[in-house]
């Protein structure tokens, strides 16, 4: 019966193409707009590393001003970055299963042949565990090991894009790059890696592209690398040298630790408290103990990666879909009234109300499916527009299979809901109503 109803639906849609077109268009516009906002919301709200999001933790230590909290609106919060030297000390203690410190910087890459020109590339200055902790995929080679961290050896991991630019995409492991007058050994090339949001550094933009290369954290001191990201300070300190900057109370380093069990987490918090107590005895950390760890999703919430505006926009877009569906209901009522004589005839020939109802519901589902398909195209256009408007990296917001099925599902279900009343109305037509007058 479903196939028969499907066939009748297609005939009915062809019978009145303008009316059908209007209904499909109303659903398509509603789906297009709601799916555009839903996709952005879904992308912003998604878990960027679902396999490990509950074992990776951002670390915060409250080294802030004793008379004023880091965030006046949320005084319970410690600064969301740590000082360079705290990160260095925590790395050295290495209490977690894995840990990594990092900040954004940039270096000038000197040409590898006589024809090239030097250029600046963004770098993430980090430690060896970064790659394993965050499941970074490699095309060639791997990250450096901890001994390279300890010895501050100049090593570099390239992104696929930078490797393409420098080495034409060839396996460049073992090659050398000169940056800041120092020769760096290429240890690995990572594959396309687009965690969205960029969970390990939402502070400097949750939806930025990842940095073009990665170099050891321990080189900061050797090469006097400065942060290209955000830094905050509260203490009036006299800084006369790079070393004094590294030892200042300014916070500009993100710190992550990998902890697998509740016990490890509890132990780690005890460890942080002990560390801060030790620092208190040295005259630092004048505020009450306020050390925290946040798993990945908590960290996204902390930074409000999904802004309230996005939630409001999502709500508004679904309200718009409702308006589109109300228009569709009106069109369906008109269309179904036009089918009175056929419905009467079918009733006379043995179709029960339920059979007629099912026939109409299949028709509205087909209309919804058609609207959903066109709506998907509109959503794809909308997402391209958003990328263009907000200068987002190409492909950052895209419709994946989940969103495509969701769009079609919403289109079909919502149009079926919209079709309930018109279908019910049409079922109430008495079988004898139109047979004499046709």
């Amino acid at each position: 019966m479903f196939n028969y109803n499907l066939k009748l639906s297609l005939k009915s849609m062809r019978r009145n193409p303008i009316m059908t077109g209007l209904m499909v268009a109303a659903i398509a516009v509603g789906i297009g707009i709601s799916m555009t906002t839903l996709t952005v919301y879904y992308m912003m709200n998604g878990n960027p590393i679902p396999e490990k999001s509950d074992v990776l933790f951002a670390v915060t230590l409250d080294n802030w001003n004793p008379i004023r909290p880091f965030d006046d609106d949320r005084p319970e919060r410690a600064p969301h970055q740590v000082t360079f030297h705290d990160a260095e000390r925590l790395l050295a203690i290495g209490k977690g299963k894995r840990q990594t410190a990092m900040f954004e910087s940039s270096l000038i890459i000197e040409p590898i042949d006589d024809e090239g020109l030097p250029f600046e590339a963004g770098a993430r200055v980090t430690s060896a565990d970064f790659f394993v902790m965050f499941n970074v995929p490699f095309i060639y080679g791997s990250g450096w090991d901890k001994s390279a961290d300890a010895a501050a050896e100049p090593m570099v991991v390239l992104t696929k894009g930078l490797n393409e630019r420098l080495f034409g995409g060839e396996d460049s492991v073992g090659n050398w790059l000169t940056m800041q007058g120092t020769r760096f050994l290429v240890t690995g090339v990572i594959d396309t890696w687009e965690p969205t949001p960029r969970f390990f550094d939402p502070i400097n933009g949750g939806f930025q592209e990842i940095n073009e290369m990665f170099i050891p954290y321990s080189l900061t001191r050797v090469l006097e690398l400065t942060s290209a990201g955000s830094d905050w300070g509260w203490k009036s300190e006299e800084i006369n040298s790079f070393e004094e900057w590294l030892n200042s109370e300014a916070v500009w380093v993100q710190y992550f630790v990998e902890l697998e069990s509740t016990r490890e987490r509890d132990d780690y918090l005890v460890h942080l408290d002990a560390y801060v107590e030790e620092q208190k005895r040295l005259g630092r950390f004048e505020r009450p103990l306020n050390n925290n760890i946040y798993d990945v999703m908590e960290w996204m919430d902390y930074h409000e990666v999904v802004a309230n505006d996005a939630k409001i926009l999502l709500g508004l877009s679904f309200l718009f879909l409702v308006v589109c569906l109300l228009s569709t209901i009106a069109l369906m009522l008109t269309k179904f009234v036009g089918k009175k004589s056929e419905i009467s005839l079918r009733r006379a020939l043995g179709a029960s109300r339920k059979v007629i109802f099912n026939q109409q519901i299949v028709e509205v589902a087909v209309i919804g499916f058609s609207g959903g398909l066109i709506g998907l195209s509109l959503a794809a256009l909308g997402l391209q527009g958003i990328e263009y408007l907000y200068d987002a990296p190409a492909g950052l917001v895209k419709l994946d299979w989940v969103m495509m099925f969701t769009a079609i599902g919403i289109a079909i279900v919502s149009s079926m809901i919209a079709g309930l009343y018109p279908a019910w109305r049409v079922c109430q037509i008495p079988p004898a109503a139109q047979l004499k007058t046709q």
């Binding site: 005939k11 056929e342 020939l349 043995g350 004499k436």
Partner: protein, 246 residues
């Protein structure tokens, strides 16, 4: 086959109450051919609608094939309509964007029949009205008489026990009307009970019995022909298709 006892049908609006049938009683035997005549507004179509389970009576008892159908639910009424009753309408009521095969197939779609069985029945029905070669045509490609033959095929495809015809020749010229009447006479000769509403006294006289209605009541009843006479009129001849017999 059909038994109505003290049937009344009242249509009510906020300001008007119309009595379409009053104390209406009628019995039609199995295999009978009955014509129903009467002036406009006498209740002919209302009677036919109630007889065909298209409407419910306000009061009274209606038994179809020995079963009281007055209080059946929609599903059971629909099933009875589908299985026991065939309809022929004045305006043919073919679905314009379905071809002849699909139009005749409509009632069978509401039965649980295999597609092969349906195909066989539809082809046989179209063949019986001489339109098997045009089964892929749309109704608009046919003359009025041919469209009514398709409607007859649709009415017969489910092999109903009761055929209800509402002014079946009202939209046809006299030659076409005669052809349709011959089809009905042949169907009757094949054993189907027929109740036909008509304005035309000549057509009414081709039935076995004529019922005359006035103001929603049976005002007169006349035995016109015996069953044998009607059968002889069409020259009943075994298993031939209707079209060949006529």
């Amino acid at each position: 086959m059909l038994s109505m006892h003290n049937i009344a049908k009242v249509y009510r609006t906020e300001s008007i109450e119309t009595h379409a049938l009053r104390e209406f009683s009628l019995f039609v035997d199995e295999g009978e051919f009955v014509s129903v005549t009467g002036p406009s507004g006498s209740g002919k179509t209302t009677f036919l609608n109630i007889a065909g389970l298209l409407e419910e009576s306000t009061v009274g008892i209606y038994e179809l094939d020995g079963r009281d159908v007055s209080s059946l639910n929609d599903r059971d009424r629909s099933r009875l309509r589908n299985e026991k009753i065939g309809f022929i309408f004045q305006s043919f009521n073919l679905i314009p964007d379905l071809n002849l095969f699909e139009n005749v197939d409509v009632p069978l779609r509401y039965r649980r029949l295999s597609s092969g069985d349906r195909k066989q029945r539809v082809e046989r029905a179209l063949e019986s009205v001489g339109l098997a070669s045009r089964m892929k045509h749309l109704p608009e490609q046919l003359s009025g008489g041919q469209q009514q033959r398709v409607a007859i095929a649709r009415a017969l495809v489910g092999e109903p026990r009761l055929l209800l015809a509402d002014e079946p020749t009202g939209n046809l010229d006299s030659a076409m009307a005669d052809q349709v009447m011959k089809f009905l006479e042949q169907i009757h000769a094949d054993g189907t009970t027929i109740v036909m509403v008509t304005h035309d006294p000549d057509l009414a006289n081709r039935a076995e019995r004529n019922i005359h209605l006035i103001d929603g009541r049976v005002s007169g009843e006349e035995l016109v022909h015996s069953q044998e006479e009607v059968s002889q009129t069409v020259g009943f001849n075994g298993d031939q298709p209707l079209a060949a017999k006529i």
